[in-house]
Every structure is written in C-alpha cells, then in structure tokens.
C-alpha cells in the first residue's frame, strides 16, 4: 500500500527531517519527495511505501499529525488510491 503525505505550513528548519524521521522509525520507505513554496507557504508532498510499516496506518498518520501540530503545520496522510480515483478516469 502506498500513501501520500502532504505538509503545508510556514517554512521552518527541520520539516523534511521531522517527517522522514517518523517514516524511518516505522520502517516506511520514502519513494518520492517534491517540495515547493506556494504563496509563501511551504508545501511538501511525499510518496511513501507502507508495505513493511511496523505500525497500523492510523497510528502512523496520527503521529505525523501530532508532529505537525507542534510545528504549526498541516499534515495529511492519505492512501494513494484516493488521488488516483479522483483524478484519473
């Protein structure tokens, strides 16, 4: 199962490492990362492989959300299927 992590918020030091640390802790492999600054907002999209994840999806997504809250970032973790379903015929 692959998931898309989106991080939106004010640019600060250590966003990428914060997210990737949590991925590594849970044995989640990062496949692709893209980041940009949109209207002064930091915006990062990460595609990860959850196949060998050591924790259930909900636990992983909650820990990212909690980290985001501390750093004032909005972090969403959603299965890749959602985007494929919505944006591809």
């Amino acid at each position: 199962m692959r998931a898309v992590i989106t991080v939106v918020g004010k640019d600060t030091v250590g966003i990428l490492s914060g997210v990737s640390d949590i991925c590594a802790e849970n044995n989640i492999n990062i496949i692709e990362v893209s980041q940009s600054i949109l209207q002064e907002l930091f915006c990062m999209i990460m595609l990860v492989d959850m196949e060998k994840s050591s924790v259930p999806f909900a636990v992983f997504s909650d820990s990212l959300k909690a980290m985001g809250k501390q750093k004032n970032l909005q972090i969403h973790t959603m299965q890749e299927d959602v985007f494929n379903a919505m944006h591809h015929v």
Partner: protein, 451 residues
C-alpha cells in the same frame, strides 16, 4: 507521481470546502426474522442486525483514517417493519424499541425502516404500523420512519395521504418538548427508492439482496468553490464545471463504497449521487444557486438554476460510479442548509417556490417548519400536491414537515446537529378539507401523450 496540483486540490476540498462522505448505510433484510410471535421476532431482529452490522462502525472508521476522508454517518436500513408486523401481529412499537437497542449496541447514527409501502392500499400490518409511528418516534431517538403513499405505476393512495397528515401532527405533538423532533424523523414518499442510504427515508426494499452497502456522497461546498473560480463564465461552462466536480466527488464515494463492501464482506449496492447540505457555513446548496447569479435562493430563476445543477451532478456522477441509485440529486432541506435558512427567514423563499423547485431536483419538501396550528388536512393536501409532482414526472418526491407546536410564523425551531434549525414558514390555510376527506385513490397517470 500524481500531479501536485491534483493532490493539493483534494486536500483543499477536504480541509476548506467540507468534502465528505455523508453516509455509509448497510441495508439488511429482516424477512427471515418474521415469525408469529412478536417477542421472538424482535429477538431474531436484534440478533441478526447486531451480527451483520457489528463491524460496520469500526471498519468505516478505519477507512476514514486510511483515506483521510471524513465519513459523517454510519447507518442501517432494514426491511419495512410493516412487513414484519404483518406476520407477527402485536404492537409494532416493540420493533421500534428493538431497533433503538440495536442502534445503541452497534453505535450507528440512525436506523431506518420503520416503514410501510401503501401506494395502492393497506395490507396486514400497514395500518397498525402507521398508527404507531408517533409513539415509536417519541420513545426512540435514532429510529427513522417513512411511508410510501404513491407511485407513477399505482397512483396515489388518498386514504394514506389523509392519515399521514394526522400522523405528522401527532408526531410533533408527542415530542413538543423536544423541538417536535418526532416529525423530523418521518418522511412521506411518492416513488420511494428501495436503496436510498439517506435518512429519514432509508429502508431496505423487498427487492434488495440479503445485505448490502450503499453510500451517499456530499459536497455542496466543493461545487460552490469550483463555481466561485469562474465568475464570468457562461452557463455552459457552469454546467461543465459542476459535472467535473461531481465526477470527482462521486469517485471518492465509489472508492469508499467498494472498500467498505470488501472489508465487511458484503456486496456493494449503489452510490447515491447527492449534494447533501449541512447547516455549516460553506456547505449549502442554496449558496451554489446564489453563486450562479441569484441574489437569494427563492428568487425567480431558482428553479432553472437548480434544474441545471441537479442534471449536471447526475451527468458527472453517473460516469464515476459503477452503480448509481437512491435519491441521486441535489437536496433542498430548509433547516439543514445555511443559505435556505437565511432565504426562508428573509421571506424570499416560500413553500410555494420550494414546491416548484422539487419538480426539478431530488427529494421534495424537506425539513420545513410550519405553524403548529396548521390543520391536518392542509398537511395532507401538501403531501398530495408533492406526491402528484412525483407521480406525474416519474421521480421521487417526499414531504418532511415539522409542525412547530405552540409556535406561529416568525418563530423558530432548533434541532441541533445536522438537522439544523428552521424558521416557521407561512402556509396557505385555505381549506382542502373536503378534497382530503373524500378518500380513495388518484389513478395511475398515462405514460404517453407527455405534455
């Protein structure tokens, strides 16, 4: 990798535009629970539903987490209880209490199916059930009831129409200390769909399989936001934009429906292509119509805008789902829609205009608060008018009126939650008493010579 813009668009829809899946509804047949003893029948009903639906809420919660899509309601629809009453006899309120116990046990928001299908006449169990509706809805909190009183194929059962006017009034009277909530849980249908996942009208029709998952999508906020991005566009572009947005919304519904069905080991039934508003700001169907260019919902032009919206939602949604059903269309429940509430308060939106709107959109006169002293035969006549629109146009229409006991025009009822709040609307009380008291049936309409 998926396009960044697409990903951000989805996140934006969920975060800021109230995109959600409105309901995952499990339909369960109770035909094998009927027996000649009502207490045994109730035990079988409880055992069967709790067995089939025990994983419904936790599994749907897991899907919500994994896909990051809010799923607002988990519901159950069952075989019309009048059919069980026909076999078991006894006081149907026992079934109502059993279903409430089921809802408490499995943790669903609503359970629908305290229903009777009497479009052509009453059979055993129907009258007992209809007479018990006020008490059943007063002594339960999560039970919903519906009665189908007409259809295009059978005409309209005017005896049932007359009865339902009195039943609605009694529902409100028995719950007058609780915002007349009883009447908000009862809907009177013409051409009721058997696979509708939405309350209060959900029931599991006799033609449905043993157990099935139906999903209702939502997203008026998303449609309004999409239209806000094209302020100068002509109507063709407006329709195209609605279509494309509906496609995306429905794809999400289809994904959730197929996941829920797979995980619960139950066949997928249908996706209901609906635009279901909530009282939350930014989740209003009326605001879509206003975004199209009306000063207020209810102005002249409202019916045309709604017709366009409803048709475009269906066109976009049909392509996105393998099976479409239920009510499918834009809903216009007054108390559940911030824009409608405002329009009704200002007097711009009247019951007569709402009636016209129901001829081009899903459902009917929905969640409308009327004066508590409205005579039962006037309520019956409103039902008859609405059913006639459904019967002639081969579409579903429904009536969910809430007589506000003790209140007059200008007063307001506040139900809270998704049911919202509504001002008491003016009703034309010129008497239809003689028409309603005649009884009998309106014959089924001709299906040719359509003009």
């Amino acid at each position: 990798m998926i396009n960044t813009r697409d990903i951000l668009e989805t996140i934006q829809m969920i975060e800021n535009e109230n995109l959600d899946i409105r309901t995952v509804t499990m339909g369960i047949s109770l035909l094998d629970c009927c027996c000649d003893d009502i207490d045994r029948s109730c035990r079988k009903v409880y055992d069967k539903i709790t067995r089939l639906a025990q994983r419904l809420v936790p599994e749907v919660d897991t899907i919500e987490k994994e896909y990051g899509i809010p799923i607002i309601n988990k519901r159950i629809a069952v075989t019309p209880v009048a059919m069980l009453t026909a076999a078991s006899g006894g006081d149907p309120v026992k079934y109502a209490k059993t279903l409430q116990k089921v809802a408490d046990t499995v943790g669903v928001n609503f359970i629908g199916g305290y229903s009777a299908l009497v479009q052509k006449g009453f059979s055993a169990g129907d009258e007992a059930l209809i007479n018990s509706i006020p008490e059943a809805l007063a002594c339960t909190s999560n039970l919903c009831s519906s009665v189908n009183i007409g259809s295009t194929k059978t005409g309209i059962n005017m005896d049932a129409v007359a009865e339902m006017g009195r039943v609605i009034l009694k529902c409100a009277e028995l719950t007058k200390d609780n915002n007349c909530i009883g009447a908000a849980k009862l809907v009177v249908f013409c051409n009721a769909p058997e696979d509708n996942p939405f309350m209060a009208g959900a029931f599991h029709g006799p033609g449905e399989p043993e157990c099935v998952i139906n999903v209702g999508v939502s997203g008026p906020g998303v449609v309004r936001a999409a239209l806000a991005k094209i302020p100068g566009a002509n109507i063709t572009e407006v329709a195209d934009t609605v279509k494309k947005t509906a496609f995306k919304i429905t794809r999400m519904g289809q994904l959730v429906a197929s996941q829920a069905a797979e995980r619960l080991g139950v066949p997928f039934g249908i996706v209901d292509l609906s635009l279901a508003p909530t009282p939350a700001v930014g989740d209003s169907v009326a605001h879509i119509l206003e975004e199209m260019g009306l000063e207020s919902c209810g102005a002249h032009g409202t019916t045309a805008c709604l017709a366009l919206l409803n048709d475009a939602v269906k066109k976009g949604g049909t392509m996105a789902s393998s099976h479409v059903g239920g009510l499918s269309g834009a809903f216009i429940p007054v108390s559940e829609d911030a824009g409608m509430i405002d329009a009704a308060r200002s007097g711009c939106l009247t019951i007569e205009k709402l009636e016209a709107m129901t001829s081009v959109c899903s459902v009917g006169l929905d969640m409308i608060v009327i004066p508590g002293d409205t005579p039962a035969d006037v309520i019956s006549a409103i039902i008859a008018d609405e059913a006639a629109i459904g019967m002639i146009n081969s579409k579903t229409t429904a009536v969910r009126l809430i007589p506000a006991i003790g209140l007059k025009e200008g007063g307001e009822l506040n139900f809270g939650g998704l049911l919202g709040s509504g001002p008491v609307m003016k009703v034309n009380t010129a008497s239809p008493a003689k028409f309603i008291s005649r009884g009998g049936r309106i014959p089924a309409p001709l299906q040719s010579l359509k003009n």
